[in-house]
């Protein structure tokens, strides 16, 4: 047949149409190659890629619990070292497994300095179990456990700054990436694998089901997050920010109004005060990373 495809992440997985996490999985494996061992904690990616007895992975893959994928990865790294083998180890977790439940084991693995790459696909809530808020859920997003209504405007707490927390562990390479810029993600995965020691990459993965937008808009939403300054693509080497993607920033509402989880900010009436607070988060990001491009008048 013409049109034959060949990927280490196989077709036939059960992700929603337009799923960013599926795209992340495929891009990671394209970058890493076949000499890779993947550890996945429970989450969307684990569930849609491996309903027993099916698996979409063409590399050795092991399912861990929500909380212990970096501990499992540590064990694999130690065993490979003892055997003198050169396979690369990647641990993949969703934001729930990374920001909340797996925090303890990630911190331990980074402290011990195992040579592995941790990748978090960040869809900003527990999507697999039905959109409950996590430590990665942004301010004012409506989820099933932080519903917007008469008494609440959605999630009251800002997103946890995990890349900085892991950089503070002394990680040699920490980066953020977005599914909207796949070649950039690929480069970062390659760099993370080449760098010795525990490395961390956090990938912004818009979720059409959980955030409430059409599947074909996945890339657009990812781009808008970057263009508004609510997500910054940057790299940190040895604790210093060495690169950040610069943009001509748009107002945050361009990003917010496209998604059902922020609908309450615009209906029944526009909530200027809350939109201003979110704009302040974007302004702070822009100042912190210096991402604004100054246009010549």
């Amino acid at each position: 047949m013409t049109g034959e495809t060949c990927h280490l992440f196989e077709v036939g997985h059960r992700a929603c149409g337009g799923c960013a996490a599926a795209l992340v999985a495929r891009t990671i494996l394209d970058a890493a190659g076949k000499n890779t061992i993947v550890v996945s904690s429970t989450g969307c990616m684990e569930v849609f890629s491996t309903p027993y007895p099916e698996t979409a992975w063409n590399v050795p893959w092991i399912h861990s619990l929500f909380e212990n994928n970096s501990a499992v990865a540590s064990g694999i790294v130690a065993s490979l070292k003892k055997q003198g083998r050169k396979e690369k180890v990647i641990a993949i977790g969703g934001d729930g497994a990374t920001f909340d439940i797996g925090m303890l084991c990630i911190s331990g693995a980074f402290e011990r300095g195992h040579d592995f790459l941790y990748i978090c696909y960040d869809n900003e809530a527990y999507m697999n179990t039905g959109i409950q808020r996590s430590g990665a859920t942004p301010y004012d997003a409506s989820t099933t456990t932080s519903p917007a209504g008469k008494c609440s405007m959605g999630n009251r707490r800002p997103k946890k700054d995990l890349p900085m927390i892991l950089a503070a562990h002394g990680a040699p390479y920490v980066a953020t990436a977005s599914v909207a810029y796949l070649p950039d993600l690929k480069k970062k995965v390659e760099k993370g694998l080449q760098t010795e020691g525990p490395c961390y990459i956090q990938v912004h993965a818009p979720c059409c089901t959980g955030w409430g937008f059409e599947g074909e808009k996945t890339m657009n939403i990812g781009k808008l997050a970057i263009e508004t300054g609510l997500w910054v693509n940057y790299e940190m080497e040895d604790g210093k920010v060495t690169r950040a993607k610069k943009v001509v920033r748009k107002p945050v509402e361009a990003y917010l109004k496209e998604q059902r989880r922020f609908r309450h900010l615009f209906k029944p009436s526009r909530n200027e005060a809350e939109i201003a607070k979110i704009q302040a988060i974007a302004d702070w990001n822009a100042e912190k990373f210096g991402i604004d491009i100054k246009l010549k008048k």
Binding site: M1, T2, G3, E4, T5, H7, F9, E10, V11, G12, H13, R14, A15, C16, G17, G18, C19, A20, A22, L23, R26, S49, T50, Y52, P53, E54, T55, A56, W57, N58, V59, L182, E214, G215, E216, K217, T218, M219, N220
Partner: protein, 86 residues
């Protein structure tokens, strides 16, 4: 069903699951407008867009879920969504 050691599964066995049946709209590729830039191949979450002998993109309709991401991202508007007829 007999379980493998450690509940292991054969690599890539998901290929037996033909997700093309999920589709309500199908992308139609118009090769006369195509510049072979490879964007559709890159953004397809299924990874089910391959190439024909001339280098034009060809989707595998056995797996395409019809999400429309390729249509949205194609810089030459060379892909169109059409209602699926079964």
């Amino acid at each position: 069903m007999a379980l493998g050691l450690g509940c292991s599964a054969k690599p890539g066995k998901a290929k037996e699951n033909r997700t093309g049946s999920w589709r309500t709209f199908r992308p139609e590729f118009m090769h006369e407008k195509c510049t072979k830039c490879g964007m559709c191949t890159q953004v397809c979450p299924e990874g089910c867009i391959g190439e024909d002998d001339l280098g034009f993109p060809v989707p595998d309709y056995d797996y395409c879920k019809g999400c429309g991401l390729c249509v949205e991202e194609c810089p030459s508007q060379a892909i169109e969504m059409k209602k699926e007829e079964k």
